[in-house]
């Protein structure tokens, strides 16, 4: 089996795919990429299926060596990438030959990055997905973060050209849109005014499970304990500290804090990618508007994926070296 060797590892390097569905009633949240769009683009750039697993890292990537010629792509944000010291661009695919060292540095103005390798990371599926669920110790290698010395099996490479995005990938600015509820009525007009009019800062208390925000304390007038109920990615819990907690990919499936609102699916990856210390604002929209935004986003993404273009140059030459 062909392996990808990890020579250096950032502090939060994990195997991720689209995550798990259908297991929330058994206490298993989806896990999966924090920014699924960036991972999807990375996979497409190297000719992988959307369901193939890639590596996700927070802030810093690492150094990688493959045992056979592979194509790779790095996405997520602006970042320094080198192959044996030679600069490579993000958001496009390149060859990595056996023995060459791929180094991925620190993300700028983004938090989560993705390294897709042609063939995909072929660690065994656990509960029908390869995604690492750190809290539950599932998936990837023993359900843990990857470290120096780890070797990951690679799947069969499908033939594909080297590809690039036609236009640079950009994220919109503007407020983080939320749909009020399910416990919107636990908060009075003053709490809602604070929530929607005041800025909140993105604190360093953040991981794949949740993101803590800091701002004016949000008070639930009848207290901050509810009978535990189900959560989704984007649920905004408000514990007694009054500091909102946005639940993310690896959240607990149920929780006992009132949830003032839910982040619109289109804006959750953008929140995940917002740099620590930045300020955000919330804007309230209806469920229907959030659905419209999500459907529009899927269409825009389909256009981006359809417009990936072949890179000019020596791609074929490297293909010869592979055979």
């Amino acid at each position: 089996m062909t392996m990808l060797h990890i020579k250096q590892a950032g502090p939060m390097l994990t195997v991720q795919d689209l995550g798990r569905t259908g297991l929330m009633h058994l206490g298993v949240s989806g896990a999966g990429a924090m920014d699924p769009t960036s991972m999807l683009i990375a996979n497409r750039l190297v000719g992988n299926a959307d369901s193939d697993a890639a590596l996700e890292f927070a802030h810093v990537g690492g150094a990688f060596v493959a045992e056979k010629p592979v194509r790779f792509a790095v996405t997520g944000g602006a970042i320094d990438i080198t192959v044996d010291g030679q600069l490579r661009h993000g958001w496009e695919s390149h060859w990595l030959m056996p023995g060459e060292v791929l180094k991925i540095g620190a993300l700028r103005r983004a938090v989560w990055g993705y390294l897709a390798i042609s063939g995909g990371i072929d660690t065994p599926k656990v509960l029908e997905a390869r995604s690492t669920h750190l809290r539950s110790g599932l998936g990837g290698i023993d359900g843990r973060r990857l470290a120096i010395g780890d070797a990951l099996p690679l799947g069969e490479t499908k033939k594909s050209s080297l590809l690039a995005l036609r236009k640079p990938f950009s994220r919109s600015n503007g407020p983080v849109r939320v749909v009020p509820g399910p416990q919107a009525d636990h908060f009075d007009a003053a709490a809602w005014k604070n929530f929607l009019r005041e800025p909140f800062s993105v604190t360093p208390s953040r991981d794949r499970m949740a993101q803590v925000l800091d701002g004016p304390a949000i008070r639930a007038f009848a207290g901050h304990d509810i009978v535990s109920d189900g959560t989704v990615a984007g649920s905004i819990q408000v514990p007694s500290s009054g500091r909102p907690i946005v639940l993310m990919a690896e959240r607990q499936t149920t929780g006992g804090y009132p949830k003032i609102a839910t982040v619109a699916s289109v804006d959750l990856p953008r929140l995940a990618q917002t740099a620590t210390g930045s300020t955000i604002r919330f804007k309230s929209i209806s469920q229907e508007e959030a659905e419209d935004l999500l459907i529009a986003r899927y269409n825009a993404l389909a256009n981006i994926l359809a417009s990936l273009e072949e890179k000019p140059g020596d791609a074929a030459k490297v293909e010869d070296r592979q055979t």
């Binding site: 009633h25 189900g230 619109a264 659905e291």
Partner: protein, 247 residues
């Protein structure tokens, strides 16, 4: 089969939970009738699937229904769920019943003696009381396979610790307020723990990774250290030792 007559005013109600889920709330209380309705609706959605519904999460008093807005809008799903609520009945199927062996006290049941002191009873009395009750799995939540049980005798209700402990074993038998638990994965917890079961509520290497589901009935059976160890050994050999009651 009784038709549903909700005793809770203003319920059931259907609320948006973002753009890809709805929550059907049956009350804001913990009671068996409410939880039966929650599970009845989950069962109805399992037997009469609605295209576009991805999964459901039954909890104490509400059902979360996750959907794909590309296939079906929340508004449409909401009216389908309204129709189902009108047809909902409880008491349809018999619950599964399992007896869970427990080694009380020892390393995992760190709070047994302190709890007995607090309740002014002997540890034997506390064990007998805990093992005398008929429990119901109200929900599986928080972590894979973690079982929240209702039915804890009132005398055993105990507030959670002010400062959670960093690591509690999988398979610990817990008490948190009015609730009881069987833990499933190791992790931090502010609950009190009185024993452990050799059974594994979650084991991803098994063909059936999850032992319990919401709606199951549970009784505890005290076992000695010898029996616990032989059950541990049998389970590590992959033998099925679960004591399910014949329906």
């Amino acid at each position: 089969m009784a038709m549903m007559q909700s005793v809770h005013p203003n319920y059931p109600r259907i609320i948006a939970c973002g753009d890809s889920a709805l929550v059907v709330e049956f009350s804001d209380q913990i009671d068996e009738e409410t939880n039966e309705r929650v599970i009845a609706l989950a069962d109805m959605l399992a037997t009469r699937p609605i295209t576009g519904v991805i999964e459901t999460v039954p909890t104490y008093r509400s059902l979360l229904v996750a959907y794909d807005p590309v296939i079906m809008r929340g508004k449409t799903l909401s009216s389908s769920l309204q129709t189902m609520l009108g047809e909902l009945s409880v008491g349809g199927g018999a619950a599964r019943r399992i007896t869970v062996p427990v080694l009380y006290g020892e390393e995992v049941g760190i709070d047994l003696d302190e709890l007995a002191d607090m309740k002014q009873m002997s540890r034997e009395e506390l064990i007998a009381l805990h093992a005398s009750a008929d429990y119901r799995v109200y929900m599986i939540g928080f972590a894979p396979g973690f079982s929240y049980l209702g039915g804890l005798p009132r005398q055993l209700h105990t507030p959670r610790l002010a400062v959670p402990r960093q690591r509690i074993d999988a398979s610990a038998i817990g008490i948190g307020g009015k609730q009881a638990s069987i833990n499933s994965v190791p992790g931090p917890s502010g609950w009190r723990f009185i024993g452990r079961t050799p059974l594994k509520l979650f084991d991803p290497s098994r063909p059936q990774p999850f032992l319990l589901r919401a709606g199951d009935r549970v009784r505890f059976r005290p076992v000695g250290a010898d029996e616990a160890e032989s059950l541990d050994a049998a389970i590590s050999r992959g033998e099925a030792v679960e004591e399910w009651e014949a329906p």
